[in-house]
């Protein structure tokens, strides 16, 4: 099945992004992106000081993925300066360019070309200045490490030309970007700039930021989702040390104290009476039934041929349903923010993914004009989507507004696990048909999903938890659940239907890949099921349906090679002949993120203990294509992280809840993969395409993992698991079922 957008169309659209950025407003101000925008001066993007140090006012932020380093590489490359002289100011609404939120693996992909172009324009401007100064034609000048040289040996540095002064020139489209053949920084291993600080305790984490006179705050959430505040007994904390103050706004309750441990003690001691909600959450065992009867909006995403007729006339048909649970971000550091309301202005230090969007929503929440809110991004604990970072900023802002003092709030572990927006549960129903020639002739895909975003947007107070607790409405758009619902396989009769649930059992938002890992779980499991039905090797069967897609074919061929794949149908017949206790198998999955961007082909090896059902993953092989590679080791670090984190989601993770709310509120009730469970090796082959654009690599590999594990389990055991997470109990149950 192909997407409506061809690769060629996409590349055109990609070029369009560059045009668009010149037209988009530049964001010195808090002004939202409306009205006729001024063209952006180079000075909005970068400055060079008298020492030749380059400051880049980057709208994208470091979430732990290494983009600070990669973006600096891009600028150093196009500007022709030494890498260490480039520094990024990220995500400050008063200083950085609004490049949109840092989401969806779009940092290098969309933000990178913008920085490259700004740097190239700056270089062109500097060359013109140097030509004048040295009285030599610009074409004859050479630049190295920020020093311009003429053929006669005369030199002038960038610092001498523009140090501390403004370029006073608009970023246009005159400058040509460097050809990849001339790269000396991009594409080379670059040690990450943040790691030395992180391992010595000197990195400037948000969590370590303090203001003079700052108070410590904690929040107390309702004892059930939807419960209403009946009474707060402030006297219950009056005698506690630390000048404890209680702040109540609707159902939002917070405490502040002078010391952090005092605020924690006060939050625990505060007596509150809640009125239970009229109806609680459904029982967990009723989740699927609840989702199937929840009112939905139906979207026909793609359709071709006559699916019903093709299913009817198919030589063989299969049906299957795949389920994925609510899952949590599980950042190791609970979300944190520092806020200061002063003279009618709010400044928030936050690890948000979208400083500008957050500023707009905070303005609504606090009743301030948008221009009176500044969000200054600082790096937090690892961010894998919309966790509590925005919500805690709202908490800190409300407390600071109430007390006219700077307030720092860090969520407790139970706040983060209990109340961060969750990656939502999904259900996929699939029907497929094989023709007599063992090709797929029909594919009918139906996905049931709530939206995967409740991020701050459109100034809606209800997109922040504290706003919701005050009865403010959220503004939600249906998004993310359809991501990678279509496949890239060629199937003559296909139909992809998305049923967007109007309600989510738990507050839902973006978690790494949004709906892509879940949809790919269904697609790549089902194609494996069809391959098994056809008696075909899983890789060969996929290749048969990818004719002409050379990049996909190359990836599958590469992963077949590096994993030592022996072509044969699944399940393996050999392991069951072995009388030993361990069943071994391998499974493959392929995905192109959003059907258009970075791609990964992954082979997972599993070992299953026949007696206990215990699953282990000794080895994973990845072939990866994200177009032009910027920092190969940084990329490998990302790919390894994608694999390990998603293995954790595949094997262990499920948010549990009762009628009142989330019950998996710590690392015991929401376990993640530990060192003893990590693969021995992740074997990576990077396929570089310098002729192509850069695609973000934060998610493509993660997308494949559920399916690759399920396919490997099937290969090893002959049983097909269709619900994430895959547990030892599932394996034992299905093995027993198969025997019976």
């Amino acid at each position: 099945m192909t997407m409506s957008l061809s690769r060629r169309d996409f590349l055109k659209a990609g070029a369009g992004l560059i045009v668009e950025f010149q037209l988009a407003p530049y964001a010195y101000s808090q002004t939202p992106q409306t009205g006729a925008p001024p063209a952006r001066p180079i000075d909005a993007w970068l400055a060079i000081d008298a020492e030749g140090q380059v400051t880049v006012f980057c709208g994208k932020v470091e979430l732990g993925t290494g983009i600070e380093t990669a973006m600096a590489q891009l600028v150093a490359e196009e500007l022709d300066v030494a890498f260490p002289s480039v520094h990024l100011v990220m995500g400050d609404t008063a200083r950085s360019v609004n490049q949109g939120p840092t989401v969806g693996s779009k940092t290098l992909q969309q933000g990178g070309p913008q920085l490259r172009r700004a740097a190239a324009e700056a270089r062109l401007t500097l060359l013109a200045m140097a030509a004048e100064k040295l009285a030599v034609a610009a074409e004859q000048l050479r630049v190295a490490d920020g020093v311009v040289s003429a053929p006669n040996g005369s030199q002038v540095s960038y610092a001498q030309l523009v140090g501390g002064k403004r370029f006073a020139r608009t970023v246009g489209d005159t400058a040509r970007l460097k050809s990849p053949a001339d790269f000396r920084i991009v594409g080379r291993e670059q040690a990450r700039v943040d790691i030395p600080g992180k391992v010595t305790g000197s990195h400037n984490y948000l969590h370590d930021f303090r203001l003079a006179g700052m108070l410590h705050g904690r929040v107390i959430r309702p004892n059930a989702i939807g419960a209403k505040l009946k009474a707060v007994d402030e006297a219950s904390v009056n005698s506690l040390p630390g000048n404890v103050r209680v702040v109540v706004k609707g159902n939002f309750v917070g405490v502040v104290a002078e010391r952090e441990e005092q605020a924690i003690a006060a939050a625990a001691a505060l007596k509150i009476v809640w009125t239970p909600p009229a109806s609680g959450l459904p029982a967990m065992s009723e989740l699927e039934a609840t989702m199937r009867r929840t009112s939905a909006e139906t979207q026909q995403m793609t359709a071709a041929g006559d699916v019903d007729a093709a299913l009817k006339s198919a030589a063989r048909t299969l049906t299957a349903s795949y389920r994925t649970p609510y899952q949590s971000h599980g950042s190791i550091g609970p979300s944190c923010a520092v806020a200061e309301v002063k003279d009618g202005r709010l400044t928030v230090w936050s690890a948000t993914q979208g400083s500008w969007m957050l500023a707009g929503n905070l303005a609504t929440l606090l009743g301030l004009p948008p221009a009176a809110v500044r969000v200054i991004w600082m790096e937090g604990s690892g961010c894998y989507g919309h966790n509590g970072a925005d919500d805690v900023a709202a908490d800190a802002a409300l407390l600071s507004q109430a007390l006219s003092r700077p307030v720092r709030v860090q969520w407790m572990r139970s706040d983060e696990h209990g109340w961060d927006p969750k990656g939502p549960a999904m259900i996929v129903d699939l029907r497929g048909g094989l023709a007599a020639d063992q090709r797929i002739v029909a594919w009918d895909y139906q996905v049931i999903t709530p939206t995967h975003s409740s991020r701050p947007a459109g100034g809606a107070g209800g997109n922040l938890l504290a706003g919701l607790l005050q009865g403010m409405a959220p503004r939600l758009a249906m998004t993310g659940g359809n991501r990678n619902a279509p496949t890239n396989y060629q199937i003559p009769n296909h139909r992809v239907t998305v049923h967007w649930l109007k309600e989510s059992v738990l507050r839902a938002s973006a978690l790494r890949g949004l709906g892509a890992p879940q949809n790919t779980f269904a697609n790549e499991s089902f194609i494996d099921e069809l391959a098994a039905a056809a008696g075909a090797d899983p890789i060969a069967f996929r290749l048969k349906h990818l004719a002409g897609d050379s990049r996909a074919i190359d990836l599958l061929a590469k992963v077949r090679e590096i994993s030592g794949w022996t072509p044969r149908p699944s399940p393996s017949t050999s392991p069951r002949k072995v009388s030993g206790p361990v069943l071994r198998g391998r499974g493959v999955a392929f995905a192109r993120y959003e059907n258009e961007f970075a791609s990964a082909a992954v082979v997972v090896e599993v070992a299953v203990d026949r007696k206990s059902g215990m699953i282990s993953v000794p080895k994973v092989h990845v072939a990866h294509d994200c177009g032009l590679i910027v920092n190969p080791d940084g990329l490998k670090n990302q790919i390894e992280g994608n694999i390990i984190q998603t293995l954790s989601r595949a094997l262990k993770e499920q948010v549990t809840f009762d009628r009142n709310g989330v019950t998996s509120v710590d690392w015991v009730s929401y376990p993640i993969l530990r060192f003893s469970e990590i693969p021995e090796d992740i074997n990576i082959a990077l396929l570089n395409h310098p002729e192509d654009v850069m695609y973000g690599a934060g998610e493509a590999t993660a997308v494949t993992v559920f399916a690759a594990v399920a396919n490997a389990l099937f290969d090893a055991t002959g049983v097909r698991l269709r619900s994430v997470p895959f547990t030892a109990a599932d394996v034992l149950r299905e093995l027993a079922h198969r025997k019976a």
């Binding site: 790691i195 303090r210 040390p241 010391r259 550091g333 604990s381 670090n637 990302q638 710590d666 993640i672």
Partner: protein
């Protein structure tokens, strides 16, 4: 209510702080002494992000009250080395780029220092076992394991020279 003065011996220095005796060491280190290396992760001794060494042993500072620590040698991440002069374990983590967000790095490094002091040549299983109680969410485990092996080599070289 007046807070008591408590003396702590941190990274070789005697420091006075005014806090209740049941204050977890983590907050005293971070908020009073501005040693930010140890991080709050769970407050439940489940994740390891707050690990410090007390008399050389790894301890979860989020559940360790400051009362009773008088005279004990507390070592934080900052007490190992600096950006300019990193400890061999820190150097190994930099060389092998064994971090993403780095929020868990403190615990990983402190646990490694303690492991290598007790067992200078740990095998793979011993490394995994020593770090089992430390959670990483970014998925840098394999790099961390390699960094521990590298740190063992660096420490051995340091001893020889």
């Amino acid at each position: 209510m007046a807070l008591k003065e408590v003396e702590l011996l941190v990274n070789g220095e005697r420091r006075q702080i005014a806090a209740e005796g049941d204050t977890p060491l983590l907050y005293a280190l971070r908020n009073d002494l501005k040693y930010n290396g140890a991080k709050f992760g769970c407050g439940l001794a489940q994740c390891g992000a707050c690990t410090v060494l007390i008399d050389g042993q790894p301890v979860r500072s989020c559940v360790t009250p400051i009362a009773g620590l008088a005279g004990r040698q507390i070592t934080t991440l900052e007490g190992l080395g600096t950006r300019e002069k990193p400890h061999p374990v820190q150097r190994a983590f930099i060389e092998l780029q064994a971090a993403q967000c780095g929020y868990c790095s403190n615990g990983m490094i402190m646990a490694t220092v303690a492991l290598l002091a007790a067992n200078p040549k740990p095998g793979d299983a011993e490394i995994r076992s020593a770090l089992e109680g430390h959670l990483c969410r970014c998925g840098t485990h394999l790099r961390i394991i390699r960094a521990v092996r590298r740190a063992a080599t660096l420490l051995a070289q340091e001893k020889q020279s």
